[in-house]
Symmetry: C2
Subunit: 356 residues, 2 copies
């Protein structure tokens, strides 16, 4: 009998309903619908698209109330964006943090199409006194004994400057229910909590919003009673496609001796990915790999590959990315109260059998 | 700190990569792509559709080698089919069984389109000596120290009589990679293990196939060392859409006092669903509910609804289905070595607050 993980029944319920990216799906530049990670905070709401409106209100000159057809009539852009959950890697953090127990797989890249947030705010006319933009979704639940709609805000400067998008399509199809139908926010470079799904209302505020998801959740805190700082941009990370074939239960890999092309992805919300190194000995020694073209643009992951001459033995494969802001992935998981932003290097156990 | 579940790191890895149906998605007659349950036994293979062929061989008069275009040129049928993983409910079984730790959510209903298996076998000409039909997928892995392609068989009688389908579309779109692109078997009424994905070969055999997934996995066994019987048809089950709104971590529900329409689905591979009862007191008392129309045909789940007059208090909601073969869902999980076919009634804790 395998050893327990300290994962509670509540966490298992979350793991069973939320969806990770199976790591072999890193092979696709753009993640097929149904393989992109999915964190549904409360329930997927049942939205009547005909009755639905996006309200833009608060400190604006011209409040808007727009149907989906109204939004589709406006100038659209399409952006490839890598989204990652701020809780990715949480289950590797010690001591154990109780919440959605992601290991490595809470990531995906999609082509999102919709209306630039900046252009819609421009149309509404932001008043000079506004400093914060609140996004309220239709998904409701209870957290911290507080009944709430999922709601997060962005500082006005980030809302207008960062290519944030009000998306109604993913990979050229209408948003499916689980990705925020009929409309969601997509904030490139930021952890997924910022990209509010099932968007119902955008409100311009004179003070920073201090709802539950800003004040309590999604903050980096070293101690429970400190204020901490809000999570924002995605920390640099790389993942590799586990090579060879898996053992069903352990997922341990068997790779045939000979040339094995290792491949993976790397991304950062803090700056361009500048390089990726690979280790086959658990991080003792590193070799620089070849980066693929930045074909999907500045907000999406970058492919990389490495020709490994595999000889019989036991290996621990790792990859380590660095970005233009000078960040490098750590070897060991950082700890914080919420178990957020753990971008420690992945470790993949591999056996190359001696068939001789 | 919540209590541990005995779920191992290996099981958490499986829970993180496989996908459950979030239970609110029971509201859709046909499950949207990306919400259907997904159990990927090994890895999703990377299939070159142009090079791919379906081979039909073994004890046939005319071996076939068909491209995807060849299959699309043949007469097609579309069937709505409810698929459920044989391991659904495993994490509720005691003592704990180590494998994919499904709670309740390994189910979904899709419209599958493709070529009837019976017509293709007819085209190939099954020899009189054939008794078993082997289906081999492109997904490879190691299990029981045996390197293998995922492979399962059907007795010839079941293969030709049960409306089994070689599907290349789901919900009117080409199969996405995770559902078996370019072609999969769909066996209506049988647990999901029979519906081999990434299908490469169909082989007619003179003896029942005894590969690992037939001989060891997917058998009902009361003791580790007994032979047991192979799993086949889906046991009768119902699930309800958890009403109201959830608490984020516990998923416990809050429902407002007043009329609450409970709804759910019921299905069985053993015979038509004949009725569903609901309990609000954890199974002490039961009330018959109204079944919806069998609009999706005989192989898909049936909707049901119940008007509950909710008054302040604490409740445990359950539903219990029965089928034409005389089967009724048990109140407590049955146990077997693999933790299979646990169709015990679902239990949903609900609080109706007193707002007075």
């Amino acid at each position: 009998m395998a050893q327990g993980t300290g994962v509670s029944y509540e966490e298992l319920q979350l793991a069973a309903r939320n969806h990770g990216l199976p790591l072999e799906a890193l092979r696709w530049d753009v993640t097929p619908v149904g393989l992109h990670y999915l964190l549904v905070h409360y329930d997927i709401p049942d939205v009547d698209a005909d009755a639905w409106r996006l309200e833009v209100d608060g400190l604006v000159e011209r409040p808007l109330s727009l149907s989906l057809a109204d939004l589709r009539d406006r100038d659209a852009v399409e952006l490839a964006v890598t989204l990652e959950c701020a809780g990715n890697g949480r289950a590797h953090v010690e001591p154990h943090v109780v919440s959605q127990p992601w290991l490595l797989e809470a990531v995906g890249t999609a082509r999102w199409r919709g209306v630039p947030l900046a252009s819609l705010l421009d149309e509404a006319g932001v008043q000079d006194s506004a400093v914060d933009v609140l996004f309220t979704g239709l998904d409701r639940g209870v957290e911290g004994e507080e009944e709430q709609s999922y709601a997060r805000s962005l500082p006005l400067a980030d809302a207008v400057a960062g290519d944030a998008l009000l998306a109604y399509e993913i990979n050229s199809v209408p948003l499916p229910p689980q990705h925020g139908f009929p409309l969601r926010l997509v904030v490139p470079g930021w952890y997924g909590m910022a990209s509010v799904k099932w968007l119902a209302r955008i409100t311009l505020l004179a003070e920073p919003f201090d709802g539950y998801q800003m004040r309590h959740s999604y903050r980096l805190r070293a101690e429970e009673d400190e204020d901490g700082v809000p999570l924002s941009r995605i920390q640099v990370r790389s993942l590799l496609v586990p090579p060879g074939i898996p053992e069903f239960l352990s997922r341990a890999r068997v790779v045939e001796a000979g040339t094995c092309v290792l491949g993976g992805r790397a991304w950062s919300g803090e700056g361009e990915v500048e390089g990726v190194e690979v280790s086959t000995d658990g991080g003792e020694t590193w070799t620089e790999v070849e980066l693929g073209p930045a074909a999907l643009g500045r907000y999406a992951w970058r492919g990389w590959s490495f020709r490994w001459e595999a000889t019989p033995g036991e290996y621990e494969l790792c990859s380590r990315a660095r970005d233009a802001a000078g960040n490098v992935q750590p070897l060991d998981p950082p700890w914080n109260v919420g178990g957020y932003a753990n971008n420690a290097v992945q470790r993949v156990a591999v056996t190359v059998p001696d068939r001789g």
